[in-house]
C-alpha cells in the first residue's frame, strides 16, 4: 500500500469515527419546529441577539408602570412598596417595608445590578407582573426598561430602547462583575479559601 493510499484510509477512518461520535445513539425524542423553538426561547443574552422587534421610552414606560399595576407592589415611583425597590434611593427616604430576601440594598439595586440591561428585559418579560407573567408586549417591556433606566440615571429621558440600543446601554456595574473561574471536575470550591 502506497503512503498516499494509507493517508486516504486514515482520513476515511477518521471521518467515519467523527460521524459516529456526532450521530444520536438512541433516536428518542423529536426535532422541534423552528416556530416551536422561537416561541419557547425567551432567553435574552448579554449581546441581545434574541431581543424581538419593538421599542419604548421612559415616558411610555411611566404610563405602562401605572396601567399594568406595577406601582401597587413596587410603590408609586418604583420604590417604597412591599416588593423589591427598583429605583436608587435619594439617601434620605427610608422604606417602610423590610427588604425582601434576597435583600439587595439601595446601593446594589436589583434593577440595575446586572452589567447588561438585557437582564432587566429578560426578567420583566418572563416574570412580571406577578400573577400575569408573560402577558407584556415587547413594546411594553422596552418601555418599562427605559423607565427604570431613566429613573436610575442610566439613560436620558428621550432615549429609545430597542433591540439595538438596549445591549449598548452602559450599566453602572458594566466593569464591576467578576464571574467564577471556569468549572472543572474535581476542583475545589475556591482555591486558597479555607
Amino acid at each position: 500500500m502506497g503512503s498516499r493510499k494509507l493517508l486516504l484510509l486514515v482520513i476515511i477512518l477518521g471521518l467515519s469515527q467523527m460521524c459516529r461520535a456526532q450521530s444520536p445513539t438512541y433516536g428518542v425524542g423529536r426535532t422541534p419546529t423552528p416556530e416551536e423553538i422561537h416561541k419557547w426561547d425567551i432567553s435574552i443574552g448579554p449581546d441581545g441577539k434574541e431581543l424581538p422587534p419593538g421599542h419604548g421610552t421612559a415616558t411610555e414606560g411611566a404610563a405602562v408602570f401605572v396601567r399594568k399595576g406595577c406601582f401597587t407592589c413596587h410603590g408609586e415611583k418604583g420604590s417604597n412598596g412591599p416588593a423589591p425597590t427598583l429605583i436608587k434611593s435619594d439617601g434620605k427616604t427610608k422604606s417602610a417595608y423590610p427588604c425582601l430576601t434576597p435583600c439587595v440594598n439601595d446601593l446594589n439595586l436589583m434593577s440595575i445590578h446586572s452589567p447588561y440591561a438585557t437582564t432587566m428585559w429578560d426578567y420583566i418579560n418572563r416574570a412580571m407582573p406577578l400573577t400575569k407573567e408573560g402577558t407584556l408586549k415587547p413594546n411594553e417591556v422596552y418601555a418599562l426598561v427605559a423607565f427604570l433606566l431613566y429613573n436610575n440615571g442610566v439613560i436620558k429621558e428621550g432615549e429609545v430602547m430597542d433591540a439595538q440600543s438596549l445591549p449598548e446601554v452602559k450599566m453602572p456595574n458594566r466593569d464591576h462583575v467578576g464571574l467564577a473561574p471556569e468549572w472543572k471536575h474535581g476542583m475545589p470550591r475556591l482555591q486558597g479559601y479555607p
Binding site: T31, D41, P115, A127, W183, R189, P194
Partner: protein, 420 residues
Amino acid sequence: MSSEGSGRRKFLRDSAALIGLAAGVVPAADAQQMSHAEAPPKDNKECKDNKDLIAYGERSRYVKSVRIPVMERMSPDDFGMTFHVLSPLQDSVGIITASSLHYVATHRGSYVPDINPEEHRLMIHGMVDRPLIFTVEELKRLPYVTRTHFLECSGNRAKATHKTVQQTHGMTSCSEWTGVPLSLLLKEAGVQSGASFIVAEGAETVKGATSIPLSKALDDCLVCYGQNGEAVRPQHGFPLRLIVPGYEGIHNVKYLRRIKLVEKHYMTYNDYGHLAADSRVAALNRQVGPKSIITFPSGEQKLPGPGFYEITGLAWSGSGAIRSVDISLDGGQNWTSAELRSPAYPMAHTRFGFHWTWDGKECVIMSRSTDELGTVQPSRAEIAKYWEKPNDADLQIRGLDNSIFPWRVASDGSVHNGLA
C-alpha cells in the same frame, strides 16, 4: 377465580391443620399457662383508615415533626406567597430526607404549578446539531441512574437569633434522585464547539432560569423524574427537575422545560442575585463547601442529666464525598474523630455519630467535616482572616456560609445557639 379461590382456602385450611398438629405436641401443662404476650391496653385503637393502609401510607399520628417557614420572611407573605420552608433536621435519622419534610425554596415566592406530565415537554436547543424535544415518557425510555445528593439553599445561614437546628441549618435536605444523565441528552443533541454554558429554565409562572457551566452539565447533572422511590413531588419540581450535584440550590431548576446551549454566561433570571464584583465571591456562590452540623443534641433540646449520649449529625460537601468528621467538646480547642454511620456518597448528606459521656458541666460542642479533596470546614475566624476582616458579630460571610457551628450545652442540660 373459584378454583383458584378454593385452592387458596384449601391451602390455608391445610396450613391451619399443620399448625394444630404442631400445637398438639406441646406438653399439656403449657396449655394452662397465661399468654406470654402482653394483652393490648384497653384504650389501644388500631389505625382505622384502611385507605391509608392500602393506597398511600401515612406516618403515626404521634409523630409531629414538621417544616416551618424561615424566620426572616413568613409564609404565606404579604402577597399570599410561600417563600422558603425549613426541614426539621433535629428529628432527622439516616441520610435521606422524607420528600414531605424536604426543605422548599421557591423562585421569588412563585406558586407551585399543577403540571400534567402528559403535556410537559423538555426542549434542548441553541448551540446543538440537532435540537430535540422530549415527552416525559420518552425520557423514561432512556438509560437512567439513581444517585443520592443533597440540596442546599444559599440562604442557609445560621444567625444568633436562631434557636433550633431547623432555623440555623434547615435549608438543606438529601434525596435519592433518579433520572437521565444530562450528558446523555446533550450528546444526543450534539454539542457544537463554542458552547460554554447552558441556560436551564422551568415551566412555572415566572419561568425561572439559571446559567450553568457546560463542563458541569456534561459532568454529573441529572434530569430527574424520581425522588425517594416515587415521582418527584410538585414542591420539588414535578415532573422534571435538574439536579446539579454540589451546586447551590438555585441551580437545581424545577419543572425543567428547556435547556439552551449558549456561548457565555447569560445573566438571566436566577443569576442576577449571584452576580458579584469579585470572582472569588462568584465561586463561593456556586459550589457548596464542606459543611456539617450536630443535629443531636441541638438548640432547644434538653439532656435529662449527665451520662451517655450519642452525638449525631450530618456532613456534606459540594466537592465530593465526606472523608471524615471531627467533634470538639471544648469550643474548638481539641478535636476527636467521629464515626461515619452511613455510606459517604459524593455530594450527599453523610451521617456521623460520636460516643459521649456528659459530665454535667457546661460545654460547647462542634462538628467539622473534611471532604475527599482534603478541604476542611472552616471556622468563622479562618474566614475572617481570609477576607482580612475582624472576627466579630458583624462578619459577613460571602457565598454560602459553611462555617463551623457551636451548640452550648448548659449545666442544666439545655442546649443553645453558641453564636448567641
